[in-house]
Every structure is written in structure tokens, then in C-alpha cells.
């Protein structure tokens, strides 16, 4: 039953073997937490997602959302699911316990995000937007407003949204035209304007929806420096949180989309009757600054969507190729030879391996990022915190763009592995491709991520952050250069890394000579960087796995290749560790060289895309 939604063993590997989640429990914030606690949490997370969320996924996709008399209705099944999700404490797992969060390590929240998005991606917009909005209120609102609304958001009583986009202000968020005017004698503001593409913008799941709206105060400068942040409720509330009349927020439409059909994407009109009231969050003109402090979180969550939906599609494809019988073995010459399961065909295996390497690579990348994110807040040593934060800043655009592009690629390969059946709705795999596509577009398109990496992150601390990354990967590669079984893989990653490093240094010159041509290199550069970082983490995984596999072989007395192969077939732990090594080998041989190739293409400085008259 819905077994394909999670790969628990690999999640545990990444949490406890590739990384050391328990090291975080030495920090004061997590004092007293144990592996047993985390295991119980993992088991309950999987149970909830498999039994309560996964069964909703396909039906909710077919049902979608509807707008009736100014109210959006999402699939009714989501109502109970949202109540269960909130009551279980899953909405704000890693957030402040004083405000109803659970105060758990970030990597566990990332784990729950992976499993629950895989179980029902469109459902997860409601808790996902709520915790993001709640976190903004927690960090920047005054204490009175914070203490009133955040516990209601974290517990699942009310939901939240993020209202940035307007018809003329998408990627160019500085063009926001919504206005806010203080109402004299109150702490309220009158809000007027239109917002579009607002995820979880309205629904019947909870009694109230709190919109976090970017708007301009009178006289503030144009562009991003003149934008402030407001909390605008669907229903007004008093100082005790008791709901009053409906605020002047109109739902003017919902989008009919390619995927995530049960996530309501709303057009909102604020102040049609000139009576829309909201509260200022934090200081005036700081709206974009506040928003960007939440951006890393949101972008990592996008990456998780790539991982979760790609991973589900891969595991469905794996199940399918183990059952579907077509054609005899390719090497078979006898025309009457029996047909075999398609997983025995080399090209099918290659596609499966691509999916596997990409999926495990994304997981390694994102959970490592989660460890950095947590360390940057909880480590007692300020230097370690700063280092972790720098690493996180550098890797965020890669986590977002690489994982959403690759996640999409995996869903596409998984459909291919299903043959014609993959194109049919009954087989469930096509939904993952439709659902994941949006992740490369929102929260800053992947093109924007590439510019962020090249234009901002590579220049952080005058390039010092990139050099820190370089030093870190070099230390790993040097320490394992003579590895008994993985030296070739180490060498492949080293070549890829050198290509990316050389490319990075060339950009400085290119940027001076021909800035527009240099920008053409941003996307391939991000892609290449992703191949290096993911390749490194997969080879690191293999380095961790090798001695554990050897220990099992020794215990089982498997001394020759045949005996070892039998142990790998019979013993699931041996199979797991062996697959880690094979996956790293595949990535190093087939995918890491892409970084070298991409670096070469950047180096050509080709500017035909700029010169052509379209």
C-alpha cells in the first residue's frame, strides 16, 4: 500500500550515516533528544503519510478546486487530513515550541516534507504556506500580534499565504503596486490592490486565512526599497482571536493548471469596497528584506519537491519494470526464448540507474543543506554557525534549481520506463511530472537562481565563500585520493571540480569583457556546479558504505566474487551498501563528466543567442 512514497532506508542513511544528525542533539536546543525519539517520529511520519495522505492524491488531482460565491472549495478529503496534520504537530516541526512549534531539528522537518509531498504534493501547499507565513510573523511582527496568530497557524487552526505576485510584478517583485494607508487612531492599514498566483489563497479547510501582503506606503520610493509587509486576514479578529466580519478581500478567480490541481491558486482583490484592513509586520520599507530571510527555506522546499516527486516516480517505475514482461534477453538468439521482465534489458537498467543516482543525489544534497541550516542556528560556536550559513547561502540556488530541473527529468524518465502506460492517467506516474513542473518556475525561476549563484553567491565575501567550498571538497578528495576501491570515482569528481573552479575564475574576466555573454553562462554553470556537488556527496556516500559492506562480507565469510554476490542478493543491508557504491560509480562515470563538458561550452563565449534576430 503506497510503498513507493518513501525510501526509509536511504533517508536513514543520509541522516545518520552520511551525516550525523545526532551530533545536533549536543546543542542546547535539542538536549535530551535521542535516536529512539527520532525513530518513533520517522515511523509515525511514514504511517500518517502512507495511510492518510497518499490515498487522497490521485482523487484530489482529478477533483481539483472550484470557486463558488466568492469561496474556494478544495477536495473535501483535505479537511480531515489538515486537521490530522495539525493535531499531530507536523505543520511547524522545527519551529519555536513557545508558539506551538515542535522545536525539532530541521533535517527531520525536511524528511517529513519529502515524505508528505511524495504522498500528496498538492495537499502540502496548505501546511507549507502556513508555516512559511507563520515564521515571518514569528520573526518580525510585534509580540502582541505574534503571540495571537502564530500559535493558531502552527496548530492548524488558521492557514497563511504569501502575496507577492501582481499581474505586472512577477519575477520583478519591485514593481508591486498594491498600496497601504494607515487608518488614523488605529494600528490598522487600508490595503488596496490585486494579487495573483496566490497558492493556498483560499479554501474551506480552516476558519480563517491570513495573507501576508507586500504593499507600498504613501510616499515610499519605487522599487524593492519601498515595499512593506502586511498581515491581511480573510476574517477580522479581535484581541482574543475571536473572529468577526469578513474583511474586504475578494477571490476573483482560481487558475486551472497543468498540475498541483488540488492546490488552490487564487487571484485576490484587496479593498474593492475600500474597506480592506491589515496590520504592518515589522518596520516600514523592510518587506523585501523580511521576505528574503525566508527565501532560503522556501527554495530548499522547492528542491524537496523535485526530490519527493522524482523519487516517487522512480520507485513506481522500478516496481513496474520488475513486473512488465516484454521481449527475450537482448543477447538471446533463439527466437523461441522466453520473454523477460523489462528490468533485464540494458537500456531500461540505464534509465533506472539515472533515476536512482539523481534521486539519491538530490536527497544527499538537500539533507546536507538541512544540516547546514540547522547548524547555522543552533551551534554554540559563532564561527561554525557563520560557516554553515555561508555554505547554505552558496548551495541554496543549486538545491533549488538543480533539484527541480533534475526532479522533473526523473519524472520524465520514469514515464519513459512505463512505456505507453506511463502516458495514461491510471498509472499514476504522469501526475508526478505535472505536479513537479511548477517547482522550477516559482520561488524565483531557475534562471533567476543561476543569476543568484553567479551574481551574488559566488561573490559572497569577495569569493571567500566559494573558496571555502573549494577547500572543503579538496580536503575530501585528497583524503580519499588513494582509496582502495573508489580512487577512480574520486578522480572523476576531482576533474569535474577543477573544470567548475576554472570556469568560476574565468567568469571574472568574461564579465568585464562581455557581461551579457557571461550571463549566458549562468545556467550551465549552476548545472555543472550541481553535478560536482552531488557527485561528491554520492562518492562520499560510497566511502561511508564500503567498510560497512566489507564487514558484512567478512561476517558472512564471503571471500570470492560469487559468494559476495550471493550475500548482496540475500542480505538487504549488504544490498543497500553495495548499491551505494554502484550508484556512485555510475554517477562518476556517466554524469560527473557533464560538468567538464558544460564548463567547456561556457568557455567558448558563444554569443549567438544574443546576436540572433528572433
Amino acid at each position: 500500500m503506497a510503498d513507493h512514497i518513501v525510501n526509509k532506508r536511504d533517508i536513514e542513511f543520509v541522516l545518520y550515516e552520511l551525516n550525523d544528525l545526532l551530533a545536533l542533539t549536543k546543542h542546547e536546543k535539542y538536549e535530551g533528544m535521542t535516536r529512539e525519539d527520532f525513530d518513533i517520529i520517522t515511523d509515525e511520519a511514514i504511517k500518517l503519510c502512507k495511510e492518510k495522505l497518499a490515498p487522497l492524491n490521485q482523487a484530489a488531482d482529478a477533483e481539483g478546486c472550484r470557486l463558488e460565491d466568492g469561496q474556494v472549495y478544495v477536495p473535501e478529503s483535505f479537511k480531515q487530513a489538515y486537521a490530522d496534520y495539525g493535531a499531530g504537530g507536523w505543520i511547524a516541526m522545527s519551529h519555536n515550541p513557545d508558539l506551538g512549534g515542535m522545536g525539532l531539528p530541521v533535517p527531520l522537518a525536511i524528511m517529513m516534507a519529502e515524505i508528505s509531498i511524495g504522498a500528496c504534493g498538492s495537499f502540502m501547499f496548505y501546511p507549507g504556506l502556513t508555516v512559511a507565513a507563520g515564521h515571518l510573523v514569528e520573526n518580525f511582527a510585534n509580540a502582541e500580534l505574534r503571540d495571537l496568530v502564530v500559535p493558531k497557524m502552527y496548530s492548524g487552526e488558521w492557514t497563511g499565504t504569501m502575496c507577492l505576485t501582481e499581474p505586472q510584478a512577477g519575477t520583478a517583485v519591485g514593481d508591486v503596486a498594491t498600496t497601504a494607508v494607515a487608518i488614523e487612531g488605529t494600528n490598522e492599514y487600508k490595503i488596496k490592490g490585486n494579487k495573483i498566483f496566490i497558492s493556498a489563497g483560499d479554501h474551506q479547510l480552516t476558519d480563517n486565512v491570513l495573507h501576508l501582503v507586500l504593499a507600498r506606503l504613501p510616499g515610499d520610493p519605487p522599487g524593492t526599497k519601498g515595499i512593506s509587509l502586511f498581515l491581511v486576514p480573510k476574517y477580522r479578529f479581535d484581541g482574543t482571536g475571536k473572529l468577526g466580519e469578513r474583511n474586504d478581500v475578494t477571490i476573483t478567480g482560481i487558475e486551472h493548471k497543468m498540475g498541483i490541481n488540488a492546490s488552490s491558486t487564487c487571484s485576490l482583490s484587496f479593498g474593492d469596497q475600500d474597506d480592506c484592513r491589515g496590520y504592518l509586520i515589522g518596520k516600514p520599507r523592510k518587506g523585501i528584506v523580511y521576505m528574503f530571510q525566508m527565501m532560503n527555506e522556501a527554495r530548499i522546499t522547492c528542491g524537496i519537491q523535485g526530490l519527493a516527486l522524482g523519487g516517487c516516480a522512480y520507485r513506481l517505475a522500478l516496481e513496474y519494470t520488475k513486473e512488465r514482461v516484454q521481449g527475450p534477453k537482448m543477447t538471446e538468439r533463439d527466437p523461441s526464448a522466453p520473454n523477460v521482465k523489462i528490468i533485464e534489458h540494458p537500456d531500461v537498467r540505464r534509465n533506472l540507474m539515472l533515476c536512482r543516482a539523481y534521486t539519491e543525489g538530490m536527497r544527499a544534497l538537500l539533507y546536507r543543506a538541512a544540516i547546514h541550516a540547522d547548524t547555522s542556528h543552533t551551534h554554540p560556536d559563532p564561527e561554525v554557525r557563520e560557516r554553515a550559513n555561508d555554505m547554505m547561502e552558496l548551495l541554496t540556488p543549486i538545491a533549488k534549481a538543480w533539484c527541480t530541473d533534475i526532479g522533473f527529468k526523473v519524472t520524465e524518465l520514469a514515464i519513459q520506463l512505463h512505456g505507453g502506460y506511463g502516458y495514461i492517467k491510471e498509472y499514476a506516474v504522469e501526475q508526478y511530472m505535472r505536479d513537479v513542473k511548477i517547482a522550477s518556475i516559482y520561488e524565483g525561476t531557475n534562471g533567476i537562481q543561476a543569476l543568484d549563484l553567479l551574481g551574488r553567491k559566488m561573490r559572497l565575501k569577495k569569493g571567500g565563500v566559494f573558496l571555502m567550498w573549494l577547500q572543503d571538497i579538496n580536503e575530501f578528495l585528497q583524503a580519499n585520493a588513494e582509496h582502495a576501491t573508489l580512487a577512480a570515482e574520486i578522480s572523476a569528481i576531482d576533474k569535474a571540480k577543477n573544470a567548475v573552479a576554472e570556469c568560476a575564475f574565468n567568469f571574472t574576466m568574461m564579465g568585464k569583457a562581455d557581461p551579457e555573454a557571461a550571463i549566458l553562462g549562468a545556467t550551465p554553470f549552476l548545472e555543472a556546479f550541481g553535478y560536482v556537488e552531488v557527485g561528491r556527496l554520492l562518492v562520499e556516500s560510497a566511502v561511508v558504505a564500503q567498510p560497512k559492506l566489507d564487514a558484512i562480507f567478512a561476517r558472512e565469510g564471503a571471500t570470492d566474487d560469487e559468494a559476495r554476490r550471493q550475500v548482496v542478493i540475500d542480505n538487504p543491508e549488504a544490498r543497500f551498501y553495495d548499491s551505494k557504491i554502484k550508484t556512485a560509480r555510475f554517477f562518476a562515470a556517466n554524469l560527473a563528466p557533464k560538468a567538464v563538458f558544460l564548463a567547456k561550452t561556457i568557455k567558448t563565449g558563444d554569443r549567438s543567442a544574443l546576436d540572433i534576430v528572433f
Binding site: 532506508r9 535530551g32 515542535m102
Partner: protein, 249 residues
């Protein structure tokens, strides 16, 4: 009301279990452990009873020290405290489990004991019955309903060919079938709270129980592989084969 419930740590019933090389035991390395499914119904019923009548839920397990995880899960669902009797489960038979459990029950003196009807790994279906016999308590097995009032439990039982209602005087042993309730999930606040609930660890010696297995496992073997079928030409030859070869007609 004092309610005692039991949980057993078992290998995930969906996992593929293999025999070890000399067929003396099972290979469980890398396989997941879980709370026995039927015990979840027992725990849920225990918590519901507490919610209705007040009192305390004690969660008891027997096994190696990793079994605190299953106790902790039951405490996160709403149990109050745990007792783990540490023992090597490969050297203990249903009688031994019943002896240990009866000793814990005598110490705790609960008003009612709720257990799973059997464990999904060995499927002996003996412990509840043995404990009741040993203590001289009434028993109601395979429960799909359970009402407690005025010192009596009225239990609907699933039996061959239908259902039966029994009334038992408390204290009594009730074993749960899978239609008894829908076990709740442990919430994160519940899991956090469970960290502070006590789990007492005891040995068979502490309980004054001497384990003398009456059931000794000599070895394991897989059922023989099924022979290939055969396509016959017509109905007459089918009947002939059934009568004369298979001898089933």
C-alpha cells in the same frame, strides 16, 4: 481504573524474512521492527478506557532492550508508564511469556488487561489464554467490542461462524481483534511528552520467574517449492488425472 496493556516488538510482517545458512534461525538484519499490529488495537482500547473512566495505562513488553521504542510509542499514544522485562526472545516460549506477564500483572494488580490476540511473527495465539488460566481470571478473546461498567466487561467476540457476546467480571484478560477500534497515531506533542514518562526495566529474576521452555525449536525449513502444473488435452484426461494421479476425486 488501572489498565494494563502489552506490546511486542516484531519484524515488519511485510518484510521478506530468510533462513540463515544452517537453518537454525531467521535472518533479521536490516529488517524493520514494528509494534505487533494486534497490540496496537489493545493499546488503543486501553487508552479509550482511560479516557472514559480515568485512571492509568501501564504498557508492558518482553524482549531485548530495543523494545523501549515500542513501549515509548504506546506512551506517545497516551499510555502513562512502561515496564520492560528484558529477555532473549529466541529462548522463550509462549508459556515463558505468560509466566513473566502473569508475574508483572500480580505486581501491578490492574483492573483489566488488554492484549493483542496474537503476535504476527510467531502466531501462537496462546499468551492471553495462558495468562488468564495462570491467574485464574476470566478471559474474553478476539474482542471486536468492549464495554466496561460496574466491575464487568461486556465483550463482543469474533468466533467461527459469527460473533458471540460474553460478560466477564473484572479483573479479566481481553485480547483484541482488528475490528475493535482504529488505533490513533502518536502525535509529536505526544512523543515529546512520552520522553518524560518512566519505563521500568526488570529481569525474569526480578520477577522470580524461572524460564523452562517446553517448546524447543529444532530448526527451520522452507515449504517445498511447488511443482510445475500440467496442461491436459481435454476434460476426460483431466478427470482421469484427478482420479488416478492426484487421487482427489
Amino acid at each position: 481504573m488501572k489498565i494494563l496493556t502489552t506490546v511486542k516488538r516484531v519484524v515488519d510482517p511485510d518484510a521478506k524474512v530468510r533462513l540463515n545458512s544452517d537453518n537454525s534461525g531467521l535472518v533479521t538484519e536490516g529488517l524493520e521492527a514494528k509494534m505487533n499490529a494486534f497490540d496496537q488495537y489493545g493499546v488503543e482500547e486501553a487508552i479509550k478506557l482511560k479516557e472514559a473512566h480515568g485512571g492509568e495505562v501501564i504498557v508492558v513488553s518482553i524482549g531485548d532492550s530495543a523494545g523501549t521504542k515500542e513501549i515509548r510509542t504506546a506512551l506517545a499514544m497516551g499510555g502513562d508508564r512502561g515496564v520492560l522485562v528484558t529477555a532473549d526472545m529466541s529462548e522463550i516460549d509462549p508459556k515463558g511469556v505468560a509466566d513473566l506477564l502473569a508475574a508483572v500483572i500480580e505486581r501491578e494488580a490492574p483492573d483489566i488487561v488488554l492484549m493483542g490476540k496474537l503476535s504476527v511473527d510467531s502466531e501462537n495465539n496462546q499468551v492471553g489464554q495462558r495468562v488468564a488460566a495462570k491467574l485464574g481470571w476470566p478471559q474474553a478473546t478476539f474482542a471486536f467490542t468492549c464495554e466496561v461498567a460496574d466491575g464487568w466487561a461486556t465483550v463482543g467476540r469474533e468466533v467461527d461462524g459469527g460473533t458471540a457476546n460474553v460478560r466477564v467480571k473484572l479483573p479479566a484478560i481481553v485480547t483484541a481483534d482488528l475490528r475493535l477500534n482504529e488505533p490513533r497515531y502518536a502525535s509529536l506533542p505526544g512523543i515529546m511528552k512520552a520522553k518524560r514518562k518512566p519505563i521500568e526495566e526488570l529481569t525474569p529474576d526480578d520477577l522470580g520467574v524461572e524460564l523452562e521452555p517446553q517448546l524447543i525449536i529444532q530448526g527451520y525449513s522452507l515449504p517445498p517449492a511447488r511443482a510445475a502444473g500440467e496442461i491436459v488435452d481435454d476434460v476426460d484426461s483431466l478427470i482421469d488425472r484427478l482420479q488416478n494421479t492426484a487421487k482427489v476425486l
